[in-house]
Symmetry: C2
Subunit: 371 residues, 2 copies
């Protein structure tokens, strides 16, 4: 039983932070099949080899070398500066496949639509999904459509699932890593980080969350900020061709704070980042200050964080700078076991004024319904 006063599901259970982790632990108790949950174990009938199981809680699962992921999208409003629920659902799912180091093979799309939803809006979403698919060079191959009576769902919900597969670029990347050290797993998983690895982000943080929030709430500090929604599989492909990447996540719910804490916890290593190296736009910084939101906790839809063996960090950074979606990339810190004389656990940030601040896993989501 979840530690919950009311015994009911709360918004925080879906917010990508601590409370969500509690709910996930509950689910794992039910979906922790003895015949198919462990790495290198086998399903007795299908004899599937599960490389990345559910309990890894990574961006995708890997079964028999097939990468598999799912996301249901409830973003509000449906249309916003820089994107809509259509482009978001395609890009988000492509990215969950791609951050494992895999190439997306195809997508499924399942709509739940409220009766009375305008067909012109639906076509606008379809057009946007089509464009994002073309951008990612991936096809929708299967789908489902349910229409429910008014009030049963707020306008439209989109689920996208996808499968992907191992590529030569990933093999090359892993080979490069092994020139320097061993790996915990053969994909870009959260538990692969080790002492000394560099932490790189691919661009400005918080654009999506703040663009959406300011549009939704009609805030006056709107400075023409756009969501950063983008499929990043081609960007990642370029990076893997350079080699040396060990772990990667796309910065969605819970932002950088959540992703780095997942890296730290699963890899059992401390992470030290420097505030003045983290790329955040002036407009996003200002909005966060005004609203009392931590810029590290805001979700993006087109940004990556990765761990790279330190010998390759500069090469990876330069490769990112040459890509469309990585030109503002930066090395923001490193995985480290020591902070001064102490053993470092968790995530710590050296602030601009020279102090140290612990970056905790967000409890709730400062900007709900952004994905």
């Amino acid at each position: 039983m979840i530690d919950n006063d009311s015994g009911n599901i709360k918004l925080e259970h879906g917010a990508g932070g601590e409370e969500m982790h509690e709910l996930l632990k509950l689910m794992l108790r039910y979906f922790n099949f003895t015949n198919a949950n462990a790495s290198n174990n086998s399903n007795k009938w299908a004899k599937a080899v599960i490389d990345v199981p559910l309990k890894a809680l990574d961006d995708s699962a890997v079964v028999d070398n097939i990468v598999f992921t799912t996301d249901s999208h409830t973003v509000k409003p449906l249309f916003f500066p820089g994107g809509d629920i259509g482009s978001l659902s395609i890009a988000g799912t492509v990215n969950d496949i791609a951050v494992m180091g895999a190439e997306p093979l195809c997508l499924s799309v399942a709509f739940v639509i409220e009766e009375g939803f305008p067909i012109t809006d639906f076509e606008r979403l379809l057009e946007s999904m089509k464009k994002t698919c073309e951008d990612a060079e991936v096809a929708v191959v299967t789908g489902d459509t349910k229409v429910v009576e008014r009030g049963a769902v707020e306008r439209i919900i989109v689920n996208t699932s996808a499968i992907g597969r191992r590529t030569e670029a990933l093999e090359k990347n892993m080979e490069e890593v092994r020139r320097y050290r061993e790996l915990a797993g053969n994909w870009l998983i959260d538990s692969n980080l080790r002492d000394g690895d560099s932490i790189i982000v691919s661009g400005y943080l918080g654009d999506h969350g703040i663009a959406l929030l300011s549009f939704r709430e009609g805030f006056e500090f709107d400075t023409g900020l756009q969501s950063d929604i983008a499929p990043l599989n081609r960007t990642i492909h370029e990076v893997l061709n350079v080699g040396g990447v060990v772990a990667m996540k796309d910065l969605t719910r819970g932002g950088l704070a959540n992703s780095l804490n997942e890296f730290s916890l699963k890899s059992n290593v401390g992470i030290l980042i420097e505030e003045d190296k983290i790329p955040v736009r002036e407009s996003v910084r200002n909005a966060c200050e005004l609203l009392g939101i931590d810029q590290l906790e805001i979700g993006n839809e087109g940004k990556l964080v990765m761990g790279v063996v330190k010998e390759k960090a500069s090469d990876v950074l330069h490769a990112l700078w040459r890509t469309k979606h990585g030109k503002d990339a930066a090395i923001i810190g490193s995985a480290t076991e020591k902070l001064g004389a102490k053993k470092l656990k968790g995530v710590v940030m050296k602030t601009q004024v020279g102090g140290m601040r612990i970056v905790e896993t967000p409890i709730g989501d400062p900007v709900p319904r952004i994905c």
Copy 2:
């Protein structure tokens, strides 16, 4: 643009009949990628071979021999006699993979939950999903959870997607078919039916739809009827080991009327069935008469219809009788090009009183929100 007075999505657009087909045609215009939509064509980057594309509108897609399907479940109420949205979502998706002739490899589960949903109910659903997974011998390997504010979704929506793969049993089945004739496609697809093939259903029609409807509406003709929800992959495995099956569907939205019309349209062959051979329980028949619902249009969640080369029909029937979920199976008719002296198109039923009735694709769904 869909032919629609209001320009809005209607309930019928999700009902599995004619109007849904219009909406699907609209979607196909957007998802009909030139680089990846045709059989034996290739995606220019991923170089995927799409065996069963989106435009086939079959139960699953097949890409590079990986079978892939998705379904969002909005059944109301969440708990009903014989099942719940949990067992339904697992069994329904397992069946969509299995009716292609494939073995389900693993599942994804994505929840959209309304804030305030009781955790005890959520655990009840998880327990039910776990049991159905064990029954089907398939594992949930990846997932997503979104929690939305009150009113944004009615309680809970569950998406399940799955991947499956080709099995020796399917190879054996196809080999057996080829002893008698050629096939349009190398999976159990809707376009494989030919003149003379027998049509077999695996058991009583309408149990799920009528059980759910009578429970939901509190009708007095309730006779203890239970939903027939069941994962059918093992049943299908037994049938494939006998061999001779060319096409298969699970009888969900739109019931037998919809499935047979899909067979007829895609295979370009007429289908003649006999009313007195169709297994329908007395209680379902009575309920249908009372409510003025066509029993052929009601959805099931644990029943199959299949086309079998006539030389193997009796063997397949006997194999079904030996399975848990196929013991009431029956041969209900055959694919035929001629009806008397006329060329037969579509689906025709010889009624119990000896007349002939055209079985049309349902326009709407007589029992909404059943899956």
